[in-house]
């Protein structure tokens, strides 16, 4: 169970380039000092981000099987429409997508 020096170097490099963009906004932004104009723009970001995170990625949610992915996400969507319970939707999606893996 050792860590090779070149892998340690890789981990440190990845940590640095990943952590800096995460941290900078926290260091410089304050909720009470953001102009009203920007607040509106920032308010849209989560919705736009969720759209872009879902599409087209969900098609490959069940790797290499878009049919199972679509069926699974539809099942989740139906559950979520009636009950905003993410865990319940997760169970439904997996249970429905699983048998579809047989038809590839």
């Amino acid at each position: 169970m050792t860590v090779r020096p070149e892998i340690l170097l890789l981990v440190i490099g990845m940590v640095v380039v990943t952590y800096i963009p995460r941290m900078l906004p926290f260091a410089f932004l304050r909720a009470d000092k953001i102009p009203e104009r920007w607040r509106g723009l920032l308010g849209h970001i989560p919705h736009a981000a969720l759209g872009a995170l879902l599409v087209p990625g969900f098609l490959d949610g069940v790797a290499g099987n878009p049919v199972a992915s679509i069926v699974g996400i539809l099942a989740a969507g139906i559950v979520l429409w009636f009950k905003p319970n993410i865990l319940l939707a997760m169970v439904a999606a997996v249970l429905v997508a699983w048998p579809f893996l047989a038809f590839k």
Binding site: I7, P21, F26, L29, V55, L80, I86, A93, W98, L101
Partner: protein
């Protein structure tokens, strides 16, 4: 003195409550991350990376897509420098996510470097769509739940990845997307226009990805920024129009 102590106790209690709220709102992320991290653990083992090396990646980098890509690049013999540059291209999107998360952060600034470490697509999505603002204790609770799921999944996958039927494991890949949909749906039900922003951004992202012009992290950033700008511009025009009539 006693008054001061009373105040402190009150504050600690409130912080405790906020951490617990973070834990419970972060639990779906734990569930969503775990199977994906199991897949990462399996991939890391096949590179091959050591148990400790895989654990360090998940514990300290804590950024899923870039870890998968780093592991596959390592396996195909790509140099460390290129992997770090690729990681930067993928993870620079956190600048945007952190901006939105930090913009709603109130209260004490202490521990913000730790709270910033845990910003991911998923913790960002939960934090920024909740109706209230939050302090660092909430973020720490939320993020640590996500982190635990990611790390526990990685180690489990590495040690015992074969314990699940391959089919079930593949089906569980859908969980992260169910989570995104689960966060988006209540927002859409509140205001149907959310669907316009999300749909536009998704379509743009798909289009940009199809061209293959940008690395995946940048495609996401461009899709988000362009759709936000378009919707904001369109809304701005509508507002001006309204005030003129």
């Amino acid at each position: 003195m006693a008054e001061q102590q009373e105040g402190l106790r009150h504050k600690m209690k409130r912080h405790q409550g906020a951490i617990l709220t973070g834990f419970s709102e972060g639990f779906p992320i734990f569930v969503g991350y775990f199977p994906v991290a199991v897949a990462f653990g399996l991939l890391a083992k096949s590179v091959p990376l050591g148990f400790l090396e895989a654990g360090m990646l998940s514990a300290f980098v804590f950024a899923g897509a870039s870890q998968f890509i780093a592991a596959s690049l390592l396996a195909s013999g790509v140099g460390i420098g290129s992997i770090i540059v690729t990681t930067f291209l993928i993870n620079s999107r956190h600048l945007l996510l952190s901006t939105a998360v930090a913009a709603r952060l109130t209260g004490t600034r202490r521990l913000f470097p730790l709270a910033a470490f845990g910003v991911t697509d998923e913790t960002f999505a939960i934090a920024t769509t909740r109706p209230d603002t939050y302090g660092t204790p909430y973020l720490l609770g939320l993020n640590s739940m996500a982190w635990l799921g990611w790390l526990a999944g990685t180690l489990t996958g590495y040690l015992a990845g074969g314990f699940l039927p391959a089919n079930l494991q593949a089906a569980m890949g859908i969980l992260l997307y169910v989570m995104f949909l689960g966060i988006l749906m209540p927002e859409v039900r509140k205001d149907i226009r959310v669907l316009i922003v999300a749909g536009l951004s998704g379509a743009l992202h798909w289009g940009i990805r199809a061209t293959g012009w940008l690395p995946s992290g940048w495609a996401l950033v461009v899709a988000i920024l362009v759709s936000v700008a378009l919707v904001d511009g369109w809304k701005g025009k509508g507002a001006k129009h309204d005030s003129a009539t």
